[in-house]
């Protein structure tokens, strides 16, 4: 709690400091490449019932995903608190790579915890983090995925809190993390709202994003929350389908509970034990969800749906072949959501999809899925 109180104070003082905000804005512009583009994708849209579809191109941000937005903010905060080391959990490796990157940039030590199953399915990102000078620790406890990496990062943090900041990667964990990470990610929606008004002359009918912990989704949703006419749609990892029990669709298939310092929807059994999750996408393979999503669900402001592995991989392929953009498999869940929702919007409808990351890291998984490996 002491560390969280200290972080809350440091964060509030940084937010109120024009110097801090200016430095973050400069890094986001000159280093991360913001604002990211808004791209209309008509050939993809033709597969989505003919409405207009715009992609917010977080895949074009430095390190290949939206994760850099949050990490740059927390890295500056780490330095401001006089700490010399950042630690992070990572699932797909996007957040780990972003944390390793910002650590290299600011001269901070960095340790990234990654579940053993994820180090295998995302080996390329493990190599990237090591190249950037980070130590990557393989987590072999529990289910050996994101949740266990988070446990291990917390264990490190309680031991090293004097010198170390836990750079959490999503809008989850104890306060102030969900609020702080949301604030660092809300630039996505702030930019996208202006861009779509400029490009289409009106607000979109639906904003669609994938949800694991939910940081890219909150990032793009937040600015649109007051816009009542805009549907906010979160796409969770439906794995092999809700009925199969092998999924990570926390809001769609879970119940309220407490995990990692937050009260939120949770995949748990009758006795409150966390249930194993499954998703083709390591980044969505998490049994909890940011508490603000639970709130958006309970108030009805946002809706959440489960996208199966097969639906996500189909959307992945459609975007590759219609637009020449290889999305992260996480983001492909949002694209699949657009393929489902598009027909409801009609030909005059506008869907804004957050393309949260690029798919380079997923080439191996996708190639196996589609049978592109080996001799033809």
């Amino acid at each position: 709690m002491t560390a969280l109180d200290e972080l809350t104070k440091a964060y509030l003082s940084a937010q109120a400091d024009p110097g801090f905000r200016a430095e973050l804005a400069r890094l986001l512009r000159d280093y991360a490449g913001r604002p990211t583009l808004l791209t209309e994708v008509p050939r993809f849209a033709a597969q989505a019932g003919g409405c207009r579809v715009f992609l917010k191109r977080e895949d074009l941000a430095h390190t290949g995903s939206h994760k850099i937005n949050n990490v740059l903010g927390q890295a500056l905060l780490t330095r401001r608190m006089g700490k010399t080391r950042m630690i992070a959990e990572t699932g797909a490796g996007q957040h780990g790579v972003a944390t390793a990157t910002a650590s290299a940039l600011l001269g901070l030590d960095c340790t990234v915890y990654m579940g053993e199953e994820d180090t295998q399915r995302q080996a390329l990102n493990v190599a990237r983090m090591r190249m950037l000078g980070a130590e990557v620790t393989t987590v072999t406890t529990g289910s050996r995925t994101l949740k266990d990496a988070i446990n291990e990062t917390f264990r490190d943090w309680v031991t090293t809190v004097g010198t170390t900041h836990y750079c959490i990667g999503s809008v989850m964990g104890p306060h102030p993390f969900p609020v702080m990470v949301r604030d660092f990610q809300r630039i996505i929606g702030v930019e996208a709202r202006q861009q779509i008004l400029a490009a289409a002359g009106r607000l979109p009918d639906a904003v669609i994003a994938c949800v694991g912990g939910g940081s890219n989704a909150i990032g793009i949703f937040h600015e649109f929350i007051p816009d009542d006419g805009v549907r906010l749609i979160g796409c969770e990892a439906g794995g092999e389908g809700l009925a199969s029990g092998r999924h990570a669709a926390t809001v769609a298939g879970g119940s309220p509970g407490v995990i990692h310092g937050m009260r939120t929807y949770l995949l748990q059994d009758a006795e409150g034990q966390t249930q194993p999750t499954h998703s083709v996408s390591a980044g969505l393979d998490y049994p909890g969800v940011g508490p603000e999503h639970s709130w958006l669900h309970d108030t009805g402001r946002a809706s959440y749906r489960a996208i199966t592995d097969a639906e996500a991989m189909n959307a992945f392929s459609v975007l590759c072949r219609t637009e020449g953009i290889i999305p992260a498999i996480e983001s492909a869940h949002a694209l699949a959501g657009a393929l489902q929702v598009g027909p409801e919007l009609g030909p005059d409808g506008i869907a804004l999809v957050n393309l949260s990351g690029r798919g380079d890291k997923d080439v191996d998984i996708a190639a196996r899925w589609f049978g592109h490996l080996g001799q033809s």
């Binding site: 709690m1 529990g142 917390f154 309680v158 407490v258 949770l266 748990q268 034990q273």
Partner: protein, 271 residues
């Protein structure tokens, strides 16, 4: 006064610290854990903490993580934890449950308090529940006469210690170092200072946990604390044993050794 504070008072009267032993329910088996806890009491443990095995033991080191996982793999349920409490309470030693919050939340706070009390349990140690979020539990604890035990850490500010100790009943659990549970070579130098800071805010007994594994460390902690909490060292004995019988014998042996330590409050050099 509760059975827990009674024990502290009588130990203080004979100028010694209490020995508090931790074991998770269901490890090596439900019956084996009951036998091991019983052996612990027979060999000199004054108070027993029964751990409720949880899938995500965030604040535990590798030893208790492994034990929790094994207990869950063997199908240990909340009902088994309550049965363990009931059996161990039969020895006459006060028994508390140590648990992460979600299983209690899921069970229902009032129902958990009711069933724990009727099993003869004396209280609950809640490492991941803050007093700010503990309202319903504090009410249920008061209604059932259970002791709510919260943790203070070396990083806790004076303000926090005040808040935490004012919510505590029975005793205050002082985590002697920053980190997860597990055996350490040396008792943390922070521990004595933390106990002193707790005593400035509270008249409750203070028990120190994290890292104690032998009688010398127990004696060292007993010199400044009212209770010495030992967990991982007991669990290690069960994990390392070739079979249940040997594990239980080993737990008994360690408890006897530690019981000597808490009665010898003058720290001495290792031989």
């Amino acid at each position: 006064m509760s059975p827990v504070t009674d024990r502290f008072a009588s130990a203080a009267a004979s100028n010694r610290a209490l020995l508090i032993g931790y074991l998770p329910a269901g490890m090596p088996s439900v019956a084996g854990a009951i036998e091991a806890a019983t052996a612990m009491v027979e060999a000199g443990a004054d108070l027993v903490e029964i751990g409720l095995p949880y899938s995500d033991p965030l604040l535990d080191g590798p030893v208790i993580q492994e034990a929790s996982q094994r207990a869950l793999e063997r199908g240990t349920r909340v009902a088994d934890v309550l049965a363990t409490v009931e059996a161990v309470a039969g020895t006459g030693a006060p028994v508390l449950v140590m648990t992460y919050w979600n299983p209690v939340d899921r069970y229902g706070v009032a129902a958990f308090a009711r069933d724990l009390a009727s099993a003869g349990g004396c209280g609950l140690i809640t490492p991941d529940l803050t007093p700010e979020e503990a309202g319903p539990w504090l009410e249920a604890a008061a209604a059932r006469g259970l002791d709510p035990v919260f943790l203070v850490a070396p990083s806790s500010s004076a303000e926090r210690i005040k808040l935490i100790t004012s919510a505590c009943g029975g005793f205050v659990y002082a985590a002697s170092l920053m980190g997860t549970t597990g055996m350490r070579q040396k008792v943390s130098a922070d521990a004595a200072g933390l106990v002193r800071r707790v005593r400035e805010c509270s008249s409750l007994p203070v028990a120190v946990g994290l890292g104690v594994s032998d009688r010398f460390q127990a004696a060292e902690v007993a010199a400044f604390a009212d209770g010495v909490i030992v967990g991982s060292a007991f669990v290690r004995r069960l994990l390392d044993a070739p079979d249940e019988r040997a594990g239980i014998a080993s737990v008994r042996e360690l408890a006897a050794d530690l019981a000597g330590g808490v009665r010898d409050r003058t720290p001495q050099a290792r031989t």
